[in-house]
């Protein structure tokens, strides 16, 4: 009887459990209920399948017409704001939104504020005209290969993202100028040591995010690899020779 009562109370939390959003007593209750409930085990598989379908889905790219008087007024306001910023003695703050990295991890391929453009490119092209002194991992777990390269821009800076993927695992490494910091959007953060480097761990749903600065660069890693694999890759980062 108690098990059935639990079932009706706890089954609503299956998605939150799948997204690792539960903590403490509730997490333990849901975990132990799932272990003993066949219905919830089946439901959990369906929930994860549905979530993964969307996570791997290439979403629509934003391209649209913006023509009418309302937009003309808004455009004029933007121009005035930009000019005001240019002439203002107060320096503008530049920090990449953490959602940008999480969105790329989910194969979104679109910019989040304050990224102003994003282009797909090739490793050869980026190497030929590197916007910064890129570093490249000399070691990668077997069957994980470079599968995507992007260049993204803010108003002032440019960064490069390299996606290594294979066997259902992904390792994104984003490299950008040190002055372009990362805004954590009030997500919980904590220190973590990776190969002796003091990194910041950002608690983001569905993806492990790490950030550190070294050699004038700011690195952001978005991955679902285990920590020891991440350490091996980070330890093998070498300055790319042009």
């Amino acid at each position: 009887m108690k098990r059935w009562m639990d079932h009706f109370v706890l089954r609503r939390w299956l998605s939150a459990y799948a997204d690792m959003q539960l903590h403490g007593t509730l997490l333990e209750r849901v975990r132990s209920h799932i272990a003993s409930c066949g219905f919830c085990q089946r439901d959990l598989v369906g929930i994860k399948n549905g979530r993964d379908l969307l996570a791997n889905w290439e979403t629509v790219h934003v391209a649209q017409r913006r023509v009418d008087w309302g937009w003309m007024a808004a455009a004029a306001a933007v121009i005035i704001a930009v000019l005001a910023i240019r002439w203002s003695p107060v320096p503008t703050v530049h920090a990449m939104d953490v959602n940008f990295y999480a969105a790329q991890f989910r194969s979104a391929g679109y910019c989040s504020y304050p990224c102003t453009s994003l282009v797909e490119t090739s490793f050869e092209a980026v190497r030929a005209s590197a916007p910064l002194a890129l570093q490249y991992p000399a070691r990668m777990p077997s069957s994980i290969v470079l599968s995507r390269v992007i260049r993204y821009r803010t108003q002032q800076y440019e960064g490069v993202g390299l996606l290594f993927a294979g066997t259902g695992k992904r390792f994104w490494i984003f490299e950008q100028p040190e002055r372009l910091s990362v805004a954590t959007n009030s997500l919980p953060t904590g220190p973590i040591l990776i190969c002796g480097r003091e990194c910041t761990r950002i608690e983001c749903a569905q993806v492990r995010l790490l950030n550190w600065t070294k050699d004038g660069l700011s690195f952001v890693v978005a991955t679902d690899l285990e920590k020891n694999d991440v350490e091996a890759i980070v330890a093998s980062l070498r300055r790319l020779k042009s």
Binding site: N49, A74, Y110
Partner: protein, 163 residues
């Protein structure tokens, strides 16, 4: 709100809001109209704006605008009596349409077939990556309700795409 404030909102959030409206309504032209109407309302000070505008609040505004958009008699006529019927063409069942489509198109149709509250929750969480707390605030419900809506939405998507 004054022009520069609306312009700053536009610069910061426009793409995300437009993308959400487009996925929710399933139509680029409708999404443009809805998002544009929101900016006009803000510019003409026809909306009650909180002191600090959060992303969650903006998503709620867009969702309400999408819901209102669907309430007009013309849109109801276009939409048909059932959301799932949108997936059929009168000769084929929605399931057949999904089977015959490419998986991406099938997924888009399956998403459009979800009841609108589930659709909004699933889009904001699984595509936009909004946190459970922000989702609860945007949808004006509890975190538990967010989780249970995600349960239903995700299971329906998985089931439709499996067929």
């Amino acid at each position: 709100m004054c022009g520069p404030q609306v312009a700053a909102l536009n610069q910061a959030y426009h793409d995300a809001l437009y993308r959400f409206a487009r996925l929710f309504l399933g139509n680029a032209a409708d999404a443009e109209e809805v998002v544009q109407e929101i900016y006009v309302k803000l510019l003409e000070q026809r909306a009650v704006v909180p002191e600090t505008v959060s992303r969650a609040w903006l998503y709620r505004v867009v969702l309400n605008a999408c819901m209102d958009f669907r309430k007009t008699w013309w849109q109801r006529r276009r939409e048909g009596s059932s959301a799932l019927m949108m997936m059929g063409d009168g000769k084929r069942t929605p399931e057949q349409v999904v089977l015959e489509s490419e998986s991406s198109e099938g997924l888009r149709l399956a998403l459009q077939g979800l009841p609108r509250r589930l659709r909004a929750t699933v889009i904001l969480r699984d595509i936009e990556g909004i946190s459970y707390e922000d989702l609860a605030s945007a949808l004006n419900c509890s975190v538990g309700t967010v989780s249970s809506r995600l349960n239903r939405g995700r299971k329906i998507l998985a089931k439709v795409m499996q067929r």
